[in-house]
Symmetry: C2
Subunit: 105 residues, 2 copies
DNA sequence: CTAATGGGCAAGTAATTACTTGCATGTCAA
DNA sequence: TTGACATGCAAGTAATTACTTGCCCATTAG
């Protein structure tokens, strides 16, 4: 879980995830293209994302294809982030209850 | 947004958020009590959380009371995390969570 | 008042992080 | 086979991070 948060904490890595979201199955070279850092830097970021299980890879010949794996992000949300939304949702529910006159939910 | 992710990337800070979630309005001393680091370390973590707008503070005399602010977390989810989710993965993540148990720190 | 309490500031350190350069390896095409 | 291409590996560096120690200021209790 720590790996996921740390992976997400870097803007370069989020940018890479964005690029993969726009088009999956990209190679390292394609992902690094146009970015203001070396191919190796991108490779290291991708390795981190892979270690966090946010990105899955498939080797095809001499190329390495990268795919998004949304599961860890979803787990991070479900296990950890969601509970901090509860107060807000409670307030919402309370409001809704007041407005609708319900007494169960 | 970067501040939020970076703030969440540290287990000590997540622990502090957990403590605040359990009981809001705690002082620095109360939050630091029982933790394996100095009061100053905790203070610095809280300053970071405050800078990320995840924690709001109120000064009362010589005490500083800390409160959770779930809004940035909610925004991070809504603007950035949500797009990586797929409806079908809800069940998957929940199942996996049940099978693996809680192991977040 | 004095002293204890709650907290802040600043400098220093060890570990980590992000990134680079240089070279090696495997693959494909001619 | 030769050479170009995609990627991997390793070492080095500069910046950041997490944490500490030591001292200072403000508030409150005795």
């Amino acid at each position: 879980m720590d790996k996921v948060f740390k992976a997400l904490a870097d803007p370069s890595r989020r940018q890479l995830l964005d690029r993969l979201f726009a088009e999956q199955g990209q190679t390292l070279g394609a992902l690094a293209d146009g970015l203001a850092m070396t191919r190796q830097a991108v490779s290291q970021h991708l390795a981190l994302l892979e270690a966090a299980n946010l990105v899955a890879t498939v080797k095809r010949g001499r190329e390495k294809l990268h795919y998004l794996n949304p599961v860890p992000i979803h787990e991070a949300h479900a296990r950890w982030i969601a509970k901090f939304e509860r107060p807000r949702l409670d307030a919402l529910a309370a409001l809704k209850q007041r407005l609708e006159g319900e007494d169960d939910g």
